[in-house]
């Protein structure tokens, strides 16, 4: 039996969902920086999103389980902080999935100023597509989200913070 290839492991990682947002996987969210096959097993370079996010523990376990199921003998998940994860790392496919799921994808981050202003970018309603929306709460049900309401269709919705 031949050892699984790096491609096999990448495919396995595409099966690991973000537990907070189960429609997207950790690869398309930009959380996986590298997969290396070495003498002592598979090493995954993983970038945490928000430092206090409780889902990170679940994701690390998910990585280990998925790679073991794909044939890895030993799995090491290494934290990589540089460069820090940014919502700009989320792929266009994942952005589309977020929107379909009802979460407005994050606006491009850019290098924002030290003291942020209130929502510089208009956020599009994931239900009706209107830009006539306003923020209703700066924090939401997870560290990565905030709350909005659409003034066109009246739908309250979540949006991803742009970091």
């Amino acid at each position: 039996m031949t050892a699984p290839s790096a491609q096999t492991y990448w495919d396995a990682l595409r099966g690991v969902a973000d537990p907070e947002i189960p429609v997207v996987n950790i690869v398309e969210m930009g959380m996986v920086r590298g997969v290396e096959i070495g003498e002592h097993g598979v090493r995954v370079r993983f970038t945490p999103t928000f430092s206090g996010c409780p889902a990170l523990h679940v994701i690390r376990q998910g990585i280990t389980d998925a790679l073991a199921a794909a044939g890895a003998d030993a799995v090491t998940v290494e934290n990589v902080f540089s460069p820090p994860w940014t919502t700009d790392d989320i792929t266009p496919e994942a952005r589309a999935k977020l929107e379909t799921y009802g979460i407005a994808p994050p606006a491009p981050n850019g290098e924002s100023s030290l003291f942020m202003t209130l929502e510089p970018e208009a956020v599009r309603c994931p239900r009706c597509g209107s830009f006539d929306t306003r923020i209703t709460a700066s924090f939401g049900s997870a560290l990565c989200k905030r709350m909005y309401v659409c003034q066109a269709c009246r739908e309250p919705f979540e949006g991803m913070k742009s970091v």
């Binding site: 030290l114 700066s138 939401g140 970091v163």
Partner: protein, 269 residues
């Protein structure tokens, strides 16, 4: 707080004295985050608005995440264990500023404290991004992106309450009068930190204080609050410091550490 973080090796040579200075600063930062996180989390289920309940739970979670970052940096230097440090040190061994251990008080007190702390943390992190100690520069860049949301939120609350009703204005001024001297404690340099500052490893807190004063004074006075004068402050200096805590820290830790101490063998909760 159990995961270990592999730190990139850097070319910088750290002497024992510099390691000691970094360890002390990381401990102080972690202890500030942990104790403040606990105070903020005490609002969970009790905040005046559902949205604010959620906001404070988020802020508490972020601060605890930052505490984990700092203890991870410390672990890389001295091999310590984050859980052991968080849950098994007593009040006398904690190195947080007294500001963060004070009881949560009313809504105005909570918002003024958080605002003053957030402004300090944003500025500290912004400077630390340039640290010549790469693991610190990376952690600071990560935490800064989260902390900015806090500062935005609490700065708005300061404005809203200071310009709200006579009652909210009075409560804000009372909170500021009580908290100001404690907030200045954030800028006391740690013993033996000077060489690490000179080496470009750690931010110079004296320089930060100037930036912080410019920022918060402008905002607070801009919404009609008055900052206690230097003569008022010197008339009654605080007898507390990072190594001399108020009577409020021990009960906070008893609450925070209770489960870990009751079930020392447990790995997951």
């Amino acid at each position: 707080m159990t995961e270990t973080t592999e730190i990139m090796t850097e070319t910088l040579i750290l002497t024992e004295a510099l390691k000691t200075a970094l360890t002390a600063r990381f401990t102080a930062l972690a202890d500030d985050e942990i104790t403040l996180s606990h105070r903020v989390a005490e609002w969970t289920g009790h905040a005046p608005l559902l949205e604010e309940d959620i906001a404070l739970a988020n802020i508490a979670q972020d601060e605890l995440g930052h505490g984990t970052l700092w203890l991870g940096l410390r672990a890389a230097l001295d091999g310590s264990n984050a859980d052991a440090l968080a849950y098994h040190r007593d009040a006398a061994e904690y190195r947080n500023v007294p500001l963060t251990e004070l009881p949560k008080g009313d809504w105005a007190f909570t918002m003024v404290r958080q605002y003053l702390f957030d402004a300090w943390e944003v500025l500290w992190l912004d400077t630390a991004r340039q640290s010549s100690y790469v693991p610190l520069a990376e952690a600071a860049a990560q935490a800064l992106r989260e902390e900015k949301f806090h500062l935005q939120h609490t700065a708005l609350w300061v404005e809203r309450l200071a310009l709200g009703t006579p009652e909210s204005t009075r409560r804000m001024q009372d909170a500021l009068n009580q908290l100001w001297a404690y907030a200045l404690g954030l800028f006391d340099p740690l013993p033996a930190e000077a060489d690490a500052v000179a080496a470009g490893l750690l931010p110079d807190v004296a320089a930060l204080q100037t930036r912080w004063l410019g920022l918060v004074r402008g905002h607070l006075e801009g919404v009609g609050l008055s900052i206690p004068s230097a003569s008022e402050l010197s008339a009654s200096p605080l007898p507390y410091s990072r190594s001399q805590h108020t009577e409020h820290l021990a009960p906070l830790l008893a609450d925070f550490q209770r489960v870990a101490r009751e079930f020392p063998e447990s790995q997951v909760w």
